[in-house]
Symmetry: C2
Subunit: 307 residues, 2 copies
């Protein structure tokens, strides 16, 4: 799947991923109105609105991008109904040929991590039958519990030819509270990065590992160091756009082959129609605004990183 | 809810929590047979088996214990159907007067953590209506992203009078890879513990904070230090029993008031009938074996900690 991700990035000349992190406040009124009309102001209604909103965006941008990254929390907040919309979104994106990165940030000890890996990347055995569950292509994983928590994901990834992105340095303001603390003179995120590189050796694609890393766009100096520590790990870069990360800061996240990173934007794309820049599209044409925002983002990033 | 947890611990004289972490391999054949008979060897069948198994255990032990801790991964591995069984289990345990600690180990940045907090502890707004979702009383939270990731949980906890347990030192073997690394001469878990104490000041119950900590039973020396660093935080202690933690090691996790810790056992209770010690119950009476294992665990722990 890392090979497919790279192929799609090259084919579409777009090292970008669109974060499908729907909030009800982003969804245009014509969609919520229709969904509530059908299901009432219920969880089913909210889930239907989320799904229709996503579908509109995916239909408008799928030919431009290699991958999407649905953030499961935004669906989990609507309970079971929300998770059904998550699953529907994952399935639909895969039908459209997109690589799906489930932003789930799970992580636990042994058998428990194995259960998460099964639920999101693998297949569960029930009697004589096997079932795929949420079935993303990649998921994000939290490293705080160490190798015990990561290894079961890698085991499932090997079986399914899928991958993970391990949180190394996150894009938020307080990420430094623990991640930047010095251990023998070096920040924790570097130590985690070294582990990612080591874990990654176990499960290599052609040029890159199936074990990638999350490094926020908001910390380019750290991105530069981490790029060197994990030369074979793809870096998933959140924090571009709405969170403040700028394209000119993204060069260090890429290798000399022009690969090695994929930049995420969520709100900046899916709620583009709310920005002044794209307001002329109007909320009815929110998906066209998203398409234009994707085109602009690709140009911005390719320009800055010299791809 | 921390006050209720303490009241229930005192009333039942039992600082223990039963981990409802069902694996299909634990479930007695008479239950799976019936469930598969009704729904086939399907995800619905598996979810029904999990639910009936849980119900049997809860019915057998609810009068002995203050709380249960369902591990969501074990349900998530069966996808939507599994999460429906999770929700059913949470609701049923609450009906039985049990405090429910959702072992979800979520954690993300700002709005995303807020979405998880809403989904598990709060209420979501859809139009003019508000809905509770998974609706646990407490959840476990991962600290790797810092205060940004924790604060939204605390905000929801304040509104709902609910609580969290933050992972500080986990019970697994490789927990030391990052958690034990020295920062200015002190291990990371102590630094995290200090943050837990600080976060906890913000949201106090009568004697203890709504912000607790997870510290594994397998590391009693560390438990001792952490007890002092976080005097007002309740400690959720996994790792007793099947994972190797012993009762005599648990004393340092408690304060002099005999409170301050709640010890979890999962497999050791829910699959007790598979142990030689309880094998005479037979698989048909698995729930009675669980009841006896709970009685033994309470005696073991109260004896060792001198409650």
């Amino acid at each position: 799947m890392i090979n497919k991700l790279i192929e799609e990035i090259q084919k579409k000349n777009a090292p970008v991923v669109v974060g499908l992190d729907p909030m009800l406040s982003y969804i245009p009124e014509h969609i919520t109105k229709k969904a509530y009309g059908e299901y009432g102001e219920t969880l089913e209604g909210a889930a239907e609105a989320v799904w229709q909103y996503n579908k509109g965006i995916v239909d408008a941008v799928y030919d431009l991008i290699p991958a999407v990254k649905p953030q499961i929390a935004m669906y989990e907040q609507f309970g079971i109904e929300g998770l059904q919309a998550f699953k529907k979104t994952v399935d639909y994106c895969k039908e459209k040929g997109l690589v799906v990165i489930g932003d789930i940030k799970r992580g636990d000890i042994g058998t428990t991590s194995a259960a998460y890996a099964t639920g999101h990347l693998g297949k569960v055995q029930v009697g004589d039958n096997k079932y795929s569950l949420f079935d993303e292509d990649f998921v994000t994983v939290n490293p705080y519990l160490g190798t015990d928590g990561i290894k079961p994901f890698i085991d499932v990834c090997k079986e399914e030819k899928k991958g993970i992105f391990v949180l190394v340095k996150t894009s938020n303001k307080s990420s430094g509270e623990f991640q930047d603390r010095l251990i023998d003179g070096r920040p924790l995120y570097e130590i985690v990065g070294e582990h990612v590189a080591k874990w990654g050796e176990e499960h290599m694609g052609n040029d890159y590992s199936y074990v990638g890393a999350v490094v926020g766009a908001t910390y380019p100096e750290m991105g530069k160091v981490l790029r060197k520590i994990m030369p074979k790990s793809f870096i998933l870069v959140p924090g571009y756009g709405a969170q403040g990360g700028k394209a000119e800061d993204l060069k260090p996240y890429f290798n000399e082959d022009g690969l090695g990173a994929i930049v995420n934007s969520s709100r900046g794309i899916i709620a583009a129609y709310k920005q002044e820049k794209y307001s002329s599209f109007g909320s009815e044409n929110y998906a066209d605004a998203s398409r234009q925002a994707v085109i602009d983002m690709i140009e911005d990033i390719n320009g800055a990183v010299g791809r």
